[in-house]
């Protein structure tokens, strides 16, 4: 086998990479080779790629700054075509064979970007410059330009090819983080028998154990992690999720986790976990240092450098300088020197460094410069040298270097704690915000709680897990805590950030290009509240949400305003901890899964009949067009069939609520504006229901099945809502009434046979019910056999024709429809759909609640005022009808409309102005609610709500519809058979 090229910056040995598995990938079209175990960032560094992005505002070249999800600079696009993802952090993208990555900023290329003009003219673009300019001649002139300059990656152009999953889970203990603390705690909790979920965002548990040279019980830390993980995996009460980041904590500790699929059929999975207790073991994030020109490629967090050196065997430079304000960066020096990589200087901003450390450094042969800082850096496309100066200003000259490791201290990862409403306090020694008050059912351990020492972390994690287990009723056994036999240098006392006085720019937020000068300007202009400061400078508002910069920003703000950092406080930590793919939040809920379709019980029959379906909450046929026939023509044909002979309509979705009990009639008297208790058994009445505000919320007929038993029909969309409302009244207000409500809507199928020959069809169907008008008149109901099926037949009509509603158990729907069509064939029966029903009822002027009424319509508006007024007892909404607004004479009232030109179609949604030939703008006098071409009358008709309409019958009003104006005549809202002769045959 030919050994692949290692890449110029790859060490010949070491690291946790699989050198037997080289992986080729491309960045900006150039092919490179890395290894299994690399991230995109480590592979790019190994290959000597320094600039991978251009900065947001100034278009300065930027390299890889960190080794985790906190990366502020190295945002790239991954993938091609529809699988492309913008704004990926190169630092967390695992390297795969054939990976295609590209820089997403910079034109024409990331190495030569014309946008750099902004950098060369940077004094013109201070924070908030856009507030002060682009007003002339107007924003629109400039907007396109500014918008094109903003944004990061390119979004997708087509649909997402991947699938996403969602999982719900419960557990006793959720451990956030699989580093040493998380693993230790998981072990203890698991042995106590708790159901544990441990989530670790990186591909493998271990955290610092995998990137530092730590030994536990004389073995490499990563071996301990591996052993622990395999032990945990064997335990049935532990769910160990790698590639899984805890993204947010919501009310009552409901927590979301985002898992990345590894060769799964899904790309990402969103977990919703409801833990009894949460243990935060999320570690800490190293912060940057503020100094002039601190943004060049080659400047990297010291811990990140250790990560690349130890884990990936990459030393991305040849000459190294370390700058720090705490002890932890010294570990980087020792690690590098151990590998014979020279470190030319350690610049420590503190005045005094522990003698032990000084001695160790001396022995290693690195120069220590105390009480100093970096005063400038050079290098156009990447770092070439740094300049060092003492705090008081003494210049110590340049040092050539292509790699600068920086450490500005460590910020505990407390985001999730803050989501859960824990509070933070500023800890002076560590110069960071640490947990203060914990939320209920929360614990924090390890670096996340501000601990520095690994042994302390392990001991505390074990203790915390024991305590939690006991609290949850699972006493834990003693479990040996491993001893740290080789540790790392801990941060110890952290020196406060001391930005030097310099006219050069010093970056606070690399991601959004916010500089110290911006901060000073913000303070000068009065944006001193931490939230104002954030919004004015946009610090921490980019995709990294300030993970490596916010702490410094708060410290700087404190210094600039003479406040302690604790007094400045922090901005609000809001979910998600890291950005979450929208597709994962949507899950499978798209397309057919967005809303399930509700099918009629006889759906297949309607399909056979060539029904044209529409979604009305239920899939219902609008009409049944014949081949070559338009929907309009089909409707006209079906209406004429009902008027001239007979038709059948599937009315199954109509709401069917059974209300029974000794107080049923009393209750319904309060529910309807109509009298209910006076209705004889076997009779049917039409009723309106109001809400307490006096507005019509539903209508329909109700049947008295027995003295104490009623069947209420509601609108098809209203069944659940009305059933719920009746329950609320019964359970919350009228608890003394003995009434039960059952929603039987889906239990019964219901077919309407309507037309002059309807009775003949029923007779032909075969029934033992006496159909004689005297025995079963209009608005009466009876039970019996129809077509050998147990049925209830009600003589009610929404078409104005002789009409029977036949209800049978839902499972008999197809059988009954088939029987009706067969029995009706000699009479020319035709199925008719919703659209045809709407024409039939419009010809009759029957109200359709939700079409003719809206959320302001009262009974009087639609001609039911007398009934409401005459009713003796109280009913829901009655009192509201007495208010001035309800008694006003200029309310809109239900009327009919006839265009002067009978062929001129009215359109629902047109507005009306009283008088002929009017022109808007004007206060509207009403609107057309329903309209159609009436085949029966062969003319256009409409129904409308018109101001004072009942007293305007015969007047001319103007229809206003978009640009159209024409005159129509106001008529009574009944166009056909006003005497109801056809109903009562």
């Amino acid at each position: 086998m030919i050994r692949p090229p290692l890449g110029p910056f790859r060490l010949a040995s070491g690291g946790r990479i699989d050198r037997q598995e080289p992986l080729t990938f491309t960045f900006d079209g150039v092919p490179y080779v890395g290894f299994r175990g690399d991230t995109l960032a480590s592979a790019l560094l190994a290959n000597g790629v320094r600039a991978v992005a251009r900065s947001f505002k100034y278009h300065r070249p930027r390299g890889i700054f960190s080794a985790g999800e906190e990366e502020p600079c190295a945002l790239v696009e991954i993938g091609e075509g529809h699988a492309r993802v913008p704004n990926c952090r190169a630092t967390v993208v695992p390297l795969e064979e054939g990976l295609v990555a590209a820089s997403q900023s910079g034109w024409p290329s990331v190495n030569f970007d014309l946008g750099r003009m902004v950098d060369f003219t940077h004094p013109l673009w201070p924070a908030g410059f856009y507030n002060k300019t682009f007003k002339w001649p107007n924003w629109k002139t400039w907007e396109g330009l500014v918008r094109r300059a903003a944004g990061l990656g390119r979004p997708l152009e087509g649909p997402d090819p991947d699938r996403y999953e969602q999982v719900n889970a419960h557990c006793d203990l959720l451990i956030c983080g699989g580093g040493p603390a998380g693993l230790m705690a998981a072990q203890v909790a698991a042995s106590a028998g708790l159901r544990v979920i441990l989530a670790e965002q990186s591909p493998d548990c271990g955290g610092v154990l995998n990137s530092e040279n730590i030994e536990l019980d004389d073995q490499h830390g990563s071996d301990w992690a591996t052993r622990t993980v395999s032990r945990l995996r064997e335990q049935p009460n532990v769910l160990l999720l790698e590639h899984t980041v805890v993204t947010g904590v919501y009310d009552h500790n409901v927590t979301t986790l985002l898992q990345t699929g590894q060769g799964s059929t899904w790309r990402e999975c969103l977990w919703t976990v409801r833990p009894r207790h949460v243990l935060l073991a999320s570690g800490a994030i190293e912060q940057g240092l503020i100094f002039p020109n601190n943004d060049r490629p080659g400047i990297m967090l010291a811990g990140a450098l250790r990560h690349y050196v130890n884990r990936h065997a990459v030393v991305p430079g040849t000459a190294v300088v370390v700058a720090t304000n705490n002890d932890s960066a010294y570990q980087t020096v020792f690690d590098l020197l151990h590998l014979q990589v020279p470190v030319s200087a350690v610049v420590d901003s503190r005045e005094s460094i522990s003698p032990a450390l000084q001695k160790r450094l001396q022995m290693a042969g690195a120069e220590l410069i105390q009480g100093a800082c970096i005063s400038d850096t050079r290098g156009f496309g990447g770092l070439r040298s740094v300049r060092i100066a003492r705090h008081e200003g003494t210049d110590l000259g340049h040092r050539a270097c292509d790699l600068l490791a920086v450490s500005g201290g460590w910020a505990p990862r407390v985001h999730l704690l803050a989501h859960a409403r824990g509070t933070l306090r500023f800890d002076e020694p560590s110069q960071s915000f640490v947990p203060d008050r914990l939320p209920a059912a929360w614990s924090v351990t390890g670096a996340a709680s501000g601990m520095q020492h690994l042994q302390q972390t392990l001991d505390d994690a074990a203790l915390a897990a024991r305590r939690i287990s006991e609290q949850l009723g699972h006493p834990a056994d003693d479990l040996a805590v491993p001893q740290v036999t080789r540790g790392m240098v801990e941060p110890a006392e952290v020196g406060a950030q001391r930005p030097t006085a310099s006219r050069k720019r010093q970056w606070i937020d690399l991601a959004h290009d916010v500089t110290l000068g911006d901060a000073e300007l913000a303070v000068r202009e009065g944006f001193v509240s931490v939230e104002h400061f954030k919004r004015y400078t946009t610090t921490g508002m980019s995709v990294d949400q300030g993970k490596t910069g916010n702490l410094n920003a708060f410290i700087v703000l404190g210094a600039l305003t003479g406040r302690a950092t604790g007094e400045v406080g922090t901005t609000t930590f809001r979910p998600p901890y890291v950005p979450v793919t929208l597709g994962a939040m949507a899950g499978i809920r798209s397309g057919e899964f967005y809303a399930p379709r509700r099918l009629l019980p006889a759906h297949l029959m309607h399909q056979k009949l060539q029904g044209q379906f529409e979604d009305y909450g239920w899939q219902r046929p609008d009409a049944y067009p014949r081949p070559g026939e338009s929907l309009h023509d089909a409707v006209q044909r079906e209406v004429l069939a009902v008027r001239s002979t007979v038709g059948v309509f599937d009315n199954s979705p109509i709401g069917k609520l059974e209300v029974r009990g000794p107080d049923a009639a009393r209750f319904l008297d309060r529910v309807y504006i109509n009298n209910v208790s006076g209705l004889p058994v076997g009779r049917v009445r039409y009723g309106l229901m109001l809400n307490e505000n006096g507005v019509i919320i539903d209508d329909g007929v109700f049947i008295r099945l027995a003295q104490d038993r009623f069947l209420l029909n509601t609108t098809s969309g209203g069944a659940g809502r009305i059933a719920g409302m009746l329950e609320e009244w019964l359970q919350c207000e009228w608890r003394d009434l003995r009434v039960l409500v059952d929603d039987l809507t889906t239990q019964w199928a219901c077919f309407t046979v309507a037309g002059p020959r309807a009775r003949d069809v029923l007779t032909a169907l075969g029934t033992d019910i006496d159909l004689a008008p005297a025995a079963l008149p209009h608005m009466a109901a009876a039970c019996g056999l129809v077509a050998a099926l147990q049925s209830r037949v009600a003589r009610v009509s929404f078409s104005g024709e002789l009409s029977y509603e036949i209800s049978v158990p839902a499972r008999c729907a197809s059988a009954l429809l088939e029987a009706i069509l067969a029995a009706g064939q000699p009479f020319g029966i035709e199925p008719y759909g919703i659209e045809s029903l709407m024409v039939l009822r419009a010809e009759k002027g029957y109200l359709h609640v939700g079409t003719d009424t809206d959320g302001s319509t009262t009974p009087d508006d639609v001609g039911w005022g007398e009934v409401a007024r005459r009713k003796a007892g109280d009913f829901i909404g009655k009192r509201s009808l007495e208010r001035p607004a309800n008694r006003a004479t200029d309310r809109k009232q239900f009327v009919g409309l006839e265009p002067i030109d009978p062929g001129r179609a009215l359109r629902p949604g047109s507005h009306l102005l009283i008088g002929a030939d009017r022109q808007p703008p004007a206060v509207t006098d009403g609107w057309v609610t329903s309209a159609c071409h009436s085949p029966t009358l062969d003319r256009a008709i409409g129904l409308a709500m018109l101001r004072g309409g009942r007293s305007r019958i015969g007047e001319i009003v103007t229809v206003c519809d978009e640009e159209q104006r024409f005159n129509v005549k106001v008529v009574a809202p009944v166009f056909y058979d006003p005497a109801n002769a056809r109903l009562n045959t």
Binding site: D251, T272, R879
Partner: protein
């Protein structure tokens, strides 16, 4: 996402429930005898405390029962859930 305890079914997700607002409102026994402002008080005015609120919830996708929850409107902590009848209606006919 709230986790709500139904007194009949136990702790369930918020998605199974619907909130009906302030629990202590009561319909006047004789609406016809009260003034427009008093009727408006019953119709439109609800307790809106910053802190503990007794409100009614219904286990809509469960047992269908209304019950009373004491919830903090700032922290969303739920102190208790009681069956509907356990709370005496207040202010009946005393608008």
């Amino acid at each position: 996402m709230l986790l709500i305890k139904c007194p009949y079914c136990g702790v369930r997700d918020q998605t199974e429930f619907r909130c009906g607002g302030e629990a202590s409102r009561a319909r006047p026994d004789h609406p016809e005898h009260i003034s427009d402002p008093d009727w408006a008080q019953y119709l439109f005015y609800r307790e809106n405390p910053k802190g503990l609120l007794r409100e009614r919830w219904v286990h809509r996708y469960g047992c269908g029962q209304w019950f009373i929850v004491s919830r903090d409107t700032v922290t969303h902590d739920i102190l208790d859930s009681l069956p509907m009848g356990d709370l005496p209606p207040k202010g009946r006919d005393a608008p």
